[in-house]
């Protein structure tokens, strides 16, 4: 192939990619499942950003005259056993879980994508060794690894939890990306890029990466849902965040015992919040999976 031929292939694939992207965006915007999921997710993101303005009370504010009080016009979601407003704590807990879940998933996606690109592109012994390690790590349940890591590091900070979950997600995302890269690296446009003596970094990130974005996006949304559950579960177990923080998982841990005293509201509302956030992300994920035909 001459240089002009390789350039034509690259331009053609670029045009095709743009066309496909436009079609997919159009499909996504017409998909009701996606729109419902996006609407709910947007609601929580808005609360995460403006929660401190919206919440009528502080997360720790105690009203000793309203202890374990059922929902009223003053306390929409009632109060907990410490006399704290459940409505405000749910709102103020949004930021923590949303930021933590997105951060952990972004970290896992960046690391996993890099790993998948490298192993899928270079193949050979490097791929074999890394993938065996990835398989070994993937065999251990995510929560067990996260709990062990947090316990070993004696840390309860949200940052540490984000890092641990991000690392734990890396192998799974890496495996998905690797599978996609293995297919792409055999295609003409990659061979053309090699002929143009493009640098490996350029081939990986400018040529292959855009073409494997759909599975990465879907994997990101799937992992985001897992991250929400993982963070909520770790918080419920007391790992990851400060005791008494308005984190949704912590709220459930603090209050679930009171269900037996018919005080259900401090547990039910954070649980509903977790469920709705996770469902919204799953709706988005399902929609993308269908549209990307994965």
């Amino acid at each position: 192939m001459t240089e002009s031929t390789t350039s034509t292939i690259a331009n053609k694939s670029d045009l095709e990619r743009k066309q496909i992207r436009r079609e997919r965006i159009s499909l996504v915007l017409k998909d009701k499942t996606f729109l419902v999921g996006a609407f709910i997710l947007s609601f929580w993101i808005i609360l995460a950003i403006f929660g401190s303005i919206i919440a009528p009370h502080g997360a720790g504010d105690q009203d000793f005259n309203f202890v374990s009080h059922s929902p009223t016009s003053k306390f929409f979601f009632g109060t907990d056993a410490n006399g704290r407003d459940v409505f405000s704590r749910v709102i103020l807990g949004t930021r923590l879980i949303v930021v933590m879940a997105f951060s952990a998933t972004i970290l896992g996606t960046v690391l996993g994508t890099s790993l998948g690109l490298a192993t899928g592109y270079f193949k050979g012994k490097f791929d074999m060794i890394v993938m065996r390690l990835v398989e070994a790590i993937s065999a251990i349940p995510v929560l067990i690894i996260a709990l062990l890591a947090i316990a070993a590091l004696e840390g309860r900070s949200p940052t540490l939890t984000v890092i641990v979950i991000g690392f734990v997600f890396t192998p799974n995302i890496g495996r998905t990306v690797r599978a996609a890269v293995l297919g792409e690296s055999e295609l003409e446009y990659v061979a053309a890029a090699r002929l143009r003596t493009e640098r490996t970094r350029h081939i990986l990130f400018r040529e292959i990466l855009p073409n494997v974005l759909p599975p990465i996006i879907v994997e990101f949304t799937v992992r985001l849902g897992y991250a929400i559950f993982a963070i909520a579960t770790l918080s419920f177990l007391g790992a990851g965040v400060e005791y008494g923080s308005p984190n949704w998982g912590s709220q459930i841990a603090e209050n679930w015992g009171n269900i037996y005293s018919n005080v259900w509201w401090p547990t039910a509302f954070p649980a509903l919040a977790i469920a709705s956030l996770a469902v919204s992300i799953n709706l988005i994920s399902d929609s993308l999976l269908e549209i990307f035909e994965l």
Binding site: Q62, D63, V67, A81, Y243, G257, N258, S261
Partner: protein, 552 residues
């Protein structure tokens, strides 16, 4: 001597007057009527329908259930198998057990106990004065205890091995290092690790595999941190003791709230301690709820006086001024969980001087004190403790209250993951005057700010000895005040109620001035059981006496 006994009786009668039931008499009468009608209707009741096992929910244990090791949680286990010279009753008074009677010299420096004849260990061997002497001398001998004796601190400056003397086969004498008018409490179940063990037995870890002691019950099986099953000790000295249950099982729960569904479904018969909110929510027709004062027991907040950000007493005073005590007691504790405290262990006892002014929330004064101390904008500090329903709530109160003067508290609650006291250790540090323990957020005795649980005693002596005196081995605040030490010694040695009250006032005043601890409230122990379960007795320590337990 009579004055001393009068003093103890006075303490007891005062406690009785404070004791109250949550339920109204009408509800109890109604419940009894229902039971009565059911009986009249021919429904089988009484012995024919007796449950064969009495199941009791307790808190989680921290240490091995062995006399030299025991601390929070495991003391419940020991209370069933152990027998002490005297036993602390729910009203705070003492009941003779292995000791039939006791007398002291007029100066209260020497105490003589007459030992009951015919007392036997649960393995069928007789309990002798030699066993008692061994129990009270071994704890001082590190070669015997291998360095593990949590009970030794009870007797610091009070008793040493040389003071324990066998007079004859039924008499033992304790010659004290200093006078003490409340000494019978030092040989009672309030010193929960001092149940009588066999001569030459090792009372440390391992003892729990046999639990050879002289209490009314004998261990059948014991799973550490889970449950213990007991049956009748057929060698028990009180031959009138005829249990109505074949076995008794103590089951441990991290949170009493989690035991509630089991109580409601009949899996558990009795809960040893629960939160006011849970108690209030129980169906009064099906369950009985009782409260009793726990002396100065339960959660004490310490602020380290010799290290870290609370060294300046003005900061400690400021912190104590942020707390809405009546609000917490009426709101969170629903009025039945305790009474407003005044930052002193003397407050719940009738020897307390009520003329000492009550500390109240005063944010302006608190902020002024912080400014005077050079920290007008506050500081950050961790609060260390371990998870338990009441401690969790108290920790939240401290965090919210301290925030009002800029002290940003991070809660480091160990066991909030369902474990217990792994991170927050109870291991003693040598808290003697002089040495400054290295800061350690993992330790009750080396953290800057923390909460620790104390069982409820009938007299304040042990709190004073172990927590407030500069020589105390369980002094979280590590207060080193000559004024406090002198006041404590005066109280311990006082014989008449008047002298005790005078000393108490000094302790209360120094407590408020130094503020090494915040005691925003003094607790009531709240228990709950099946309505038709009668005769379950729990004292302020949380120790069980199930000898008279039976179904109505």
């Amino acid at each position: 001597m009579s004055e001393i006994n009068e003093d103890i009786k006075e303490i007891a009668s005062s406690a009785i007057s404070r004791r109250h039931f949550v339920q109204g008499a009408a509800a109890v009468a109604a419940g009894a009527a229902v039971v009565g009608l059911a009986s009249c209707g021919g429904s089988s009741s009484g012995d024919s329908t007796q449950s064969k096992t009495l199941r009791i929910a307790t808190g989680k244990q921290e240490h091995v259930a062995a006399p030299w090791e025991t601390s929070g949680g495991s003391l419940f286990i020991l209370s069933m198998v152990g027998e002490w010279l005297t036993w602390q009753l729910p009203d705070g008074s003492l009941e003779p057990r292995i000791a039939e009677s006791w007398t002291s010299t007029p100066d209260a420096k020497s105490w003589t106990f007459k030992i009951r004849e015919g007392v036997m260990f649960n393995d069928g061997t007789p309990l002798t004065v030699d066993d008692i002497v061994y129990t009270y001398t071994a704890i001082f001998d590190e070669d015997i205890t291998k360095g593990v004796s949590r009970s030794k601190g009870n007797y610091d400056n009070i008793l040493d091995a040389a003071g324990v003397v066998k007079v004859d086969e039924t008499t033992i004498q304790f010659n004290l290092l200093q006078a003490n008018g409340n000494f019978p409490y030092f040989v009672s179940s309030a010193c929960y690790g001092m149940c009588i063990i066999k001569k030459d037995a090792f009372g440390g870890a391992g003892w729990e595999s046999t639990m050879i002691a002289a209490g009314p019950w004998k261990m059948v099986s014991h799973v550490n941190t889970e449950s213990t099953v007991y049956t009748l000790n057929e060698f028990y000295w009180d031959k009138d003791f005829k249990p109505k249950f074949d076995t008794v099982e103590l089951v441990q729960f991290v949170s009493a709230a989690t035991a509630l569904p089991q109580l409601q479904t009949g899996e558990i018969d009795f809960i040893g301690a629960l939160e006011a909110a849970d108690a209030v929510a129980l169906d009064k027709d099906k369950f009985s709820v009782e409260t009793l004062p726990a002396g100065a027991g339960f959660a004490h907040v310490h602020m380290r006086t010799n290290f870290g950000p609370f060294q300046d007493k003005r900061i400690r005073q400021a912190a104590a001024l942020t707390i809405d005590r009546p609000g917490y007691v009426d709101g969170i504790m629903m009025g039945i969980g305790g009474r407003v405290g005044n930052d002193s262990v003397m407050d719940p006892y009738n020897t307390a001087d009520t003329s000492v002014p009550q500390r109240e929330k005063d944010l302006e004064k608190a902020k002024a004190l912080m400014a005077e101390a050079g920290v007008p904008n506050g500081f950050k500090v961790d609060l260390s403790s371990w998870a338990r329903d009441d401690i969790n709530k108290y920790a939240n109160l401290i965090k919210t209250s301290f925030a009002e003067i800029g002290i940003e508290v991070t809660l480091v609650i160990d066991g909030s993951d369902g474990g217990s006291a792994v991170y927050y250790t109870y291991d003693p540090y040598p808290s003697k005057p002089g040495p400054v323990n290295q800061f350690d957020n993992h330790s009750w005795l080396a953290s800057n700010l923390g909460i620790v649980d104390w069982a409820g005693r009938g007299v304040p002596d042990q709190y004073l000895m172990r927590e407030w005196r500069s020589t105390g081995d369980w002094s979280g605040a590590q207060l080193d005040s000559r004024e406090m030490d002198a006041a404590i010694d005066e109280y311990l040695q006082a014989i008449t109620p008047e002298a005790k009250k005078t000393a108490s006032k000094k302790i209360q005043e120094v407590s408020l001035d130094e503020t090494p601890y915040i005691l925003a409230y003094t607790s009531n122990l709240i228990t709950a059981g099946r309505k038709d379960l009668e005769g379950m007795v729990v004292n302020g320590m949380g120790q069980f006496d199930a000898r008279k337990a039976k179904n109505a």
